[in-house]
Symmetry: C2
Subunit: 342 residues, 2 copies
DNA sequence: ATGAAAGCGCTAACAG
DNA sequence: CTGTTAGCGCTTTCAT
């Protein structure tokens, strides 16, 4: 059923039917009711392709997902973000278009989005330091929101980010309060913006107490499980091993934990592990192991807010906005009730 | 830059330019070269909306992601599937459209896809027993491929599935070979088709040895971590606790493992855990703990094959096809090199 | 308050 | 080989 058929059925012009359905004021309430009823009855819905062509609005938002062999971008974090954003899109009648491309095809993917006219805006994921994409998108002229930040960007851009600095500062402070003095930071690749911020937070908390970070205890790499395992093994073999690990990713923390187990050490007694990106209490243990979570719900919230910001930019032609969200943390004893620190 | 402008620039008709770009044979190689060069130079790409409207092909595939408060459909498995499918789409010039909807909005989402004309086909996720969606989609008349099966479906439909029965049969056999006799099956909700198949595989392996499943050791629920933890705690508190757990989900297995730790038991000595949906050796331990993985790469492969099948159906008007993939398993000692059993 | 007609950018008969 | 002419289904002036 299309507009023409519907209008013939009603003995009205396409124009009137269109206006009635789209809430234009100049149509009489009587006909509007009649039209709406008929549309409902016949299951009519406007063809989005045609509407897009006529209006110039694509009614969809693009996400580019780079997926390489080494770098596992398609991770749980991303899934949560998508869930948050997706709901916002649905509610506003937008579609979400995913473009999964290999590393090198990323720029082409953004350009394609523009040229093909298939999206009204774009969400940029996992910004790096000096990320070329923000310049690219400004040049392309498609509204976009970055999930995260590129600290050294030369031009203004819209972003939504979780306060990584603060989150890691608090986590470190928490470990210090427990008496830990040798804390290892198992960080993500420091080409990623968030990793740098996390390190800053870590260092800031130490500095606060007059301590300085032991470089030997700081590592940074692609956040795989093997990386966590090997790093922890190496650190625990030192004459002065760390008594606590602050780990940037859930997956990596699993590796750290495996290493600890392999050495016959007891989590929470011999060594503590705190991780980010984790709501599922993956690391809850017996004893006094502490847990720390910057929750998946935070990521989902970020997705929602990013989507809202982008739609706002598109609808109101507003300039770049910025939004810093505080991570929802949980710090405390795992055996007892956990304390929400917000 | 659009077709008209480009054609005027070249002093050719839109038709010729279109034909040249789309590889129609009736255009001379000379003009084709000229056109392609110009298109390249001016960064011309056809507007997909217009093309879709003209051809009737949307050049995109829809995925409906139901996301409820209780049921965490947006899981790692899904992310891997998307990665596999997405690459296939990209390579064929298709877009992937995600529709994130709340539980009850699922049917409406499928109908909307059809009516809005925004997709050429649909991938159906997480089929349940007696899933109403396969009938719905047949009625709607949009090509679709189901990832998984709905065993009791009354009508033919296309599907791609991993051989869950066989996978769990092998895993169970493996545990039996190790001498285990009291094996717990911590299964997913048995409204889900795959969960039923897994149980069948489990039971078949037991039957093979003249054993029958102890109903007290079989559980089935939403695959959360808490479910795994609570179930394991309860089972291990029995006078005759299981010596091994076969767990349907990575997340749930984390809970099982936590329970084991809480009781001061040693993984691999006192009790073994084997899980599905896991490639990251989450459960690799010291000692002789066994590990079993139906890998994430299998899921990704399923995504790829589903996409290929769907595109084939769309292009060649072929009827429903069926494809059963064997899961890539890894069974063995975790300390030594793991043996790939394929 | 309603309708006629033009046009969004492209493809696809149908001519030559 | 190339061009002319209709649409695809919808929105949007411009009339009435």
């Amino acid at each position: 059923m299309n507009l023409k058929q519907l209008s013939e059925l009603l003995h009205l012009s396409q124009t009137t039917v269109s206006r009635a359905l789209n809430g234009y004021p100049e149509v009489s309430e009587a006909t509007r009711k009649r039209v709406q009823a008929a549309a409902q009855a016949h299951g009519y819905a406007p063809n989005m392709r045609a509407r897009s062509l006529a209006t110039g609005r694509a009614m969809s938002i693009g996400h580019v997902i780079p997926v390489s062999s080494k770098h596992e971008m398609v991770n749980p974090v991303f899934a949560d973000f998508i869930a948050g954003a997706g709901e916002t899109y649905s509610r506003n009648g937008y579609d979400m278009v995913l473009s999964v491309v290999s590393d090198d095809g990323e720029e082409a993917a953004y350009r394609a989005f523009k040229m093909k006219g298939s999206v009204d805006g774009i969400i940029v994921h996992a910004p790096r330091l000096g990320d070329p994409r923000i310049h690219l998108l400004n040049e392309i002229g498609l509204p976009f929101v970055v999930h995260g930040r590129a600290s050294d960007a030369q031009e203004p851009y819209a972003w939504v980010d979780v306060n990584n600095t603060h989150a890691f500062e608090r986590a470190t402070r928490f470990l210090l309060d427990l008496g830990h003095r040798r804390i290892a930071l198992v960080n993500g690749l420091e080409t990623m913006d968030f990793a740098i911020r996390r390190r800053h937070g870590f260092e800031a908390a130490l500095a606060e107490r007059g301590l300085s970070a032991d470089l030997a205890l700081i590592s940074s790499d692609e956040m795989t499980e093997a990386y966590g395992h090997d790093t922890a093994r190496a650190l625990l073999a030192r004459p002065d091993p760390p008594t606590a690990f602050l780990v940037s990713s859930m997956i990596t923390a699993i590796g750290v934990r495996r290493a600890i187990e392999e050495l016959g050490l007891v989590m929470g007694r011999d060594v503590s592990v705190i991780t980010h990106d984790d709501e599922l209490s993956y690391f809850r243990n017996g004893g006094d192991t502490r847990l720390y979570t910057a929750t998946r719900s935070s990521v989902r919230e970020a997705g929602k807010r990013s989507a809202e910001m982008l739609l706002d930019m598109i609808h109101n032609q507003t300039g770049p906005q910025e939004l810093l969200l505080e991570a929802e943390l949980t710090l405390g004893q795992s055996t007892g009730p956990t304390s929400k620190e917000t």
